[in-house]
């Protein structure tokens, strides 16, 4: 139990340090994901399984996917393709994969041991929920308003002025399909015949 905590903590520290010293953004992101997973294992060993699950789902799942998506989106075009080929060479992902492998083995041993690993004063999800919607209800409301503000702000900042009107194809589906001689795929595009 103690050992699992220290191993996960060491993995988290190493992954975070490697993330901070990377020059390339995608490499840093890979190490950051491993770091978040390691912190989730630390939470589990500390007796906070609910928060550990949330860390994996929300942080490593949602927020990191958003990061990777934006980073990849900013490198459009052929230059971006070359860069991505260069980024994902085998030498790059072995480091994060090694650290993640340590974590997987550790989680396997912890889960195989059942809930015995959570013996020392685990805080159940039920208690967290009762506290969340009891004395902290106003905080929950404030968090929801903050999330709404974040949503509106992100939408406003991400809005791009449409320069030319969007071309609409396939408004009259039956006509388009007849013109494309029955091919539904070509009927939805701007070309009616398949060009070699």
């Amino acid at each position: 139990m103690e050992l699992a905590f220290y191993i996960a903590g060491a993995v988290a520290v190493i992954a975070t340090f490697l993330m901070l010293t990377r020059v390339n953004v995608v490499h840093a992101l890979l190490y950051l994901i491993v770091s978040l997973l390691a912190v989730a294992v630390v939470f589990y060993t500390l007796g906070a399984p609910f928060v550990a699950a949330l860390e994996v789902i929300v942080y490593a799942g949602a927020i990191m996917v958003l990061f990777v998506f934006v980073v990849m989106m900013l490198n459009l075009g052929e230059h971006g393709v070359e860069l991505e080929k260069q980024w994902l060479t085998p030498g790059i992902w072995t480091g994060p994969a090694l650290l993640a492998g340590i974590l997987i083995i550790e989680v396997f041993y912890l889960v195989r041991g059942g809930t015995a690993g959570l013996a020392t004063g685990a805080v159940e999800p039920k208690e967290v929920g009762i506290a969340l919607f009891g004395p902290y209800l106003i905080g929950v409301e404030l968090a929801s308003m903050l999330l709404l503000a974040g949503l509106v702000g992100a939408y406003h900042l991400g809005f791009r002025k449409v320069e030319k009107p969007e071309i609409q194809y396939g408004r009259y589906t039956a006509e388009r399909r007849a013109a494309a001689s029955g091919n539904p795929v070509l009927a939805g595009t701007d070309q009616l015949a398949r060009t070699p």
């Binding site: 905080g139 974040g150 949503l151 702000g153 900042l157």
Partner: protein, 68 residues
């Protein structure tokens, strides 16, 4: 990204304190930090995208439009 690491460290401290005194409050505060980080990331990445569209660069030194 470094901001994420710092927020995580703060959350870890809260959860450790909650585990030390067997209270659920630490995990509650971590949930708040999680929500705050999600909102902040959404706005921050939208800003980054806007800066890239406008300046074709993410170099902070290129953003010298203000006169001061």
């Amino acid at each position: 990204m470094s901001l994420e690491v710092m927020l995580n460290a703060a959350g870890l401290a809260f959860v450790v304190a909650g585990a030390r005194w067997h209270q659920a409050d630490g995990q509650v505060v971590f949930l708040f930090i999680l929500a705050m980080a999600a909102a902040e990331v959404a706005v921050g990445l939208a800003l980054v995208r806007q800066i890239y569209e406008r300046f074709r660069s993410l170099d902070a030194d290129a953003l010298s439009e203000m006169r001061g």
